[in-house]
């Protein structure tokens, strides 16, 4: 079945319409004009001047969508994207400060961040294999733990003492990702390459096929010779590696240092998870949903500027889309 057909069929459209109507009612109740608000969203996201902003916002969001989609394809859920992203972000911010980093500092930092995020995520899979701790729970608990520890490190041992803020030292110019157009940087190309890789593996490679089989029926996949434990470790490693990469891209592409809390405020992880859930982990549909959410959120900034409507409204819209699809169409109905 074509991937476009998965996202565009009436159910998704109906869900979006329902979300727009419910959200509009919410705006109306709080005393603003919903049509103005929505117009501001569309213009803020898609007007030619604003398109680079949308792409820049989409880079981490689509990255986190892929991070959520990979385990979901195999029927697993990684709720720990925040922790993995923060671990990757910190590693990405610290690596270029080491003396070993030369002209390849940025590349080195991205690789180190991916490895760190990947191993941290694999820890949750290991907990499930070794101690039967459900990954759904452990990935989230490990995320809270990572966020706390990283926050401590940034506030105390690794803090840039020349500023009064909880942030690390600026990374050298050589380690920053080159900009392409306006706010858009080379990180977008990296995420696009990762996205292409994920799609190819999902469609053409044996491991992609095996992961899909696990998603349809894990016991049957195991019976057919898939080594489920190793597969869970691999899927979680890949998921965490992408999350770590996203963290490093945000740090090296725009903020140039790790600022405590800055990676988590935009809630990329949760929007990414919602986009992945919308498409049931199918990568092309998930990426399309991720781009849609990125446009919605970028437009949300414009809406907040131009009308008095707070931009968190876009989060509400996203949640309504998911809930509506979950109910009417048994979205995410996984094999038992």
């Amino acid at each position: 079945m074509s991937a476009v057909a998965r996202l565009c069929p009436p159910p998704a459209l109906v869900a979006i319409v329902v979300a727009v109507v419910v959200g509009g009612a919410l705006v109306l109740v709080s005393g603003a004009n919903p049509i103005q608000a929505y117009a501001a969203i569309v213009e803020g996201a898609l007007a030619p001047d604003n398109l680079p902003n949308t792409l820049n916002w989409a880079t981490p969001l689509v990255g986190m969508t892929l991070a959520a989609a990979i385990p979901l394809r195999g029927g697993m859920i990684n709720l720990g994207g925040d922790g993995q992203m923060v671990v990757g972000g910190l590693v990405g911010a610290i690596t270029p400060l080491l003396p070993v980093a030369g002209p390849l500092a940025a590349t080195l930092a991205l690789i180190a961040a991916s490895l760190a995020g990947g191993f941290y995520a694999a820890l949750a899979a290991w907990g499930q294999i070794r101690f039967a701790i459900p990954m759904l729970i452990s990935s989230l608990l490990l995320s809270y733990t990572a966020v706390g520890i990283v926050s401590y490190l940034v506030r105390f041992p690794l803090r840039d003492t020349t500023t009064g803020l909880p942030q690390t030292a600026l990374v050298p110019v050589a380690a920053r990702l080159p900009t392409l157009a306006g706010p858009v940087n080379a990180g977008m190309l990296v995420i696009a390459a990762v996205a292409a890789l994920v799609i190819v593996i999902d469609r053409r490679a044996v491991i992609g096929y095996e992961l899909r089989m696990r998603g349809l029926n894990a016991r049957f996949a195991g019976y057919g010779g898939v080594r489920l434990d190793r597969q869970a470790l691999g899927a979680m490693f890949a998921s965490g590696a992408i999350a770590g990469l996203v963290g490093a891209i945000v740090v090296l592409g725009g903020q140039f240092r790790f600022i405590d809390g800055a990676l988590l405020t935009p809630a990329y992880t949760w929007s990414g998870l919602m986009a992945a859930l919308l498409a049931g982990g199918e990568p092309v549909g998930a990426i399309a949903a991720g781009l849609f959410f990125a446009a919605l959120q970028t437009g949300g900034f414009a809406m907040q500027r131009e009308s008095s409507v707070p931009r968190v409204l876009t989060l509400v819209l996203q949640a309504i889309v998911i809930l509506f699809l979950a109910m009417r169409h048994g979205l995410g109905k996984r094999s038992s």
Partner: protein, 301 residues
Amino acid sequence: MTDFLTPFLMQSAVQAITPILLASLAGVLCGRVGVFNIALEGQMLIGAFAAVVGCYFAHSAAVGVLAAIVATIAFSLILAYGATVFRGDSVVICIGMNLLASGLTAYLLRAMFDVSGTFSDPSLVGISRIRVPALQVIPILGWGFARQTAITWGAWVLVVLIALLLFKTPVGLRLRGVGEQPDAAETLGVDMRRYRVVTVLASSALVGLAGAQLSLGAVTVFAEDMTAGRGWIAVVAVMLGRGHPVYSAAACALFGFADAVGLRLQGQGLPNQLTDIAPYVVTLAALALSHRKRARVAVPT
């Protein structure tokens, strides 16, 4: 050790346990009828917000608590009907509900009070505490309960009541039947769907109370995402207690104690970023240590 276990530490431990305990009781009830409820976090957040709203407009903590219960039940209609009548996947619905709660409370906070982050107002009245001076003389446990809200007392009474309900009454038998063998229960004339809907809604009242305790109990403030993972810890407590209210309560007590010890260590100079993670680390350790006792494949991953 006696230096460490001060009356203050015990009081804050008992206080920290209350919301987790109430939420985990709700989790136990939902789990017993076969609804895997991981929306406790979002339900609690809605309760905490509604409590502050009710209290702000009526200048009464009681109205706040009532508002929390009503709002949480209304919010939980999504899970009650979504997981039964509409046959949705409860994990997906619950994740959606958690995000909806986070977005909706943040939106309404801005729309209603024109603030972001935290909301606190002099007109907010906290839930009054029941003072039992006689308990003050009993070390440790007495210290903990000498000055607590009615919600805290109620939560512990509910542990016993829910255990009795589940294991000593015909209704409890039917409840458990619906979760364990829905087909058999159906054959015996138990309306499975109705039991699930009613249980999810009734249990959500408990989570609403948990939210009210959070925003009007220890402090009188609402902060965005102030539940900070307590709902998830309650989910773990249900798993550790294997769906038994008393064992789950014991697990909650452990986490609440870890929380209070973290606060205490903070007072002794440890940075709060590190002490804040104490409950999560304890939770993970408890899960790892109990793995032999827990049945495998109990929860979908």
